[in-house]
Amino acid sequence: MKKLLKIAVILAIIGVLSAMYVWFFVYNKPHRNYQTAEVDFTLPAQMCYNQYANRADEAIQYTGKVLQIDGIPSSIEKTDSTVIIVFAYNTGMFGDEGIRCSVLPDYQDKVQEIKLMKQVVMKGYCAGYNGTDVILEYCSIITQ
């Protein structure tokens, strides 16, 4: 009887620990920290845009990966919910086209220090190409 009780207690502990693991590390696992994430591809911003816009084979590999790009920003757009740094390389039906980097909240104050028309290096998650722009989310500013 004691042995059975012992097994039941061990199984209960394993069950609780498993449930805790699933709850904290699977179901509620945190978003990847893109600020510290390892960079998958480093390339000039204009090359990245050109490859997507020209439907080059290389562009496919960037979607869903962490990119580090360098280029000269043309504008900064602020909305109620986000700050976006724009690298424009073309003009189309929706206006300027290029790379649009949505900046992480921790870096939104740093955006004010960015000087337009001067080189900046940024890192972020590449969400892909929407037909006019390459979209980078969770962006951090590496150098300016």
Partner: protein
């Protein structure tokens, strides 16, 4: 093929308009919300492309699916990999028209009720949708808001039985866009 038609429609829609009639944004905010007994799901996308021709009432949206940000990382993963399959179907599109544009005076500031009908393509499936909303006209921008519902099954999005109780069959979609007149220099280059 549908993408080809969409591009042609956008070109026709925009190239036939004249200066001062094309309003655009690339920072449109779209979010969706669904409530099931076990799970509330909400995700936001703040980099939505939208264009409106105030002469014809034509409206176009383009939404990159991987730009939807969820509170839970696991939900975001499942949304992209299992449900929307955003690697294969990266964008959602809407092309439609304001059907009561005769009641909206874009030259007079004010808030107007708008009725919109069009075709929504998600997961490579296109359905007709109707929505109501408001357009707040100011001298600087046109601020559009709308809310409508879709059924996930209509877009061939399969929910496995094991999580069926967690995900609602209906999803409410909210739209909040601030459209600005496309500047004339860009327009000259584009045309």
């Amino acid at each position: 093929m549908k993408t080809k038609y969409l591009i042609i429609t956008i070109i026709v829609l925009l190239s036939t308009s004249v200066f001062g009639q094309r309003y655009i944004t690339k920072t449109g905010h779209i979010w969706f919300h669904s409530e099931a007994p076990l799970e509330t799901i909400e995700a936001h996308n703040s980099q939505v492309n939208a264009a409106m021709d105030i002469k014809t009432g034509a409206i176009v949206f383009k939404v990159l699916m991987k730009s939807f940000i969820f509170e839970k990382a696991l939900m975001q993963e499942h949304f992209n990999e299992n449900y929307i399959e955003s690697t294969f179907y990266p964008n959602a599109t809407f092309q439609g028209k304001i059907t009561n544009s005769e009641n909206i005076d874009f030259s007079t500031p004010g808030t107007y009720n708008a009725e919109i009908t069009g075709e929504l393509t998600i997961h490579n499936v296109t359905n007709k949708v109707m929505a109501t909303g408001t357009l707040e006209v100011t001298p600087e921008i046109i601020h559009g808001k709308s809310k409508f519902s879709i059924q996930v099954a209509d877009y061939n999005i399969r929910i496995p039985d094991v999580v069926a109780g967690k995900i609602a069959e209906d999803v409410d979609i909210y739209v909040d866009i601030q459209l600005k007149e496309l500047n004339k220099e860009s327009l000259k280059s584009a045309n």
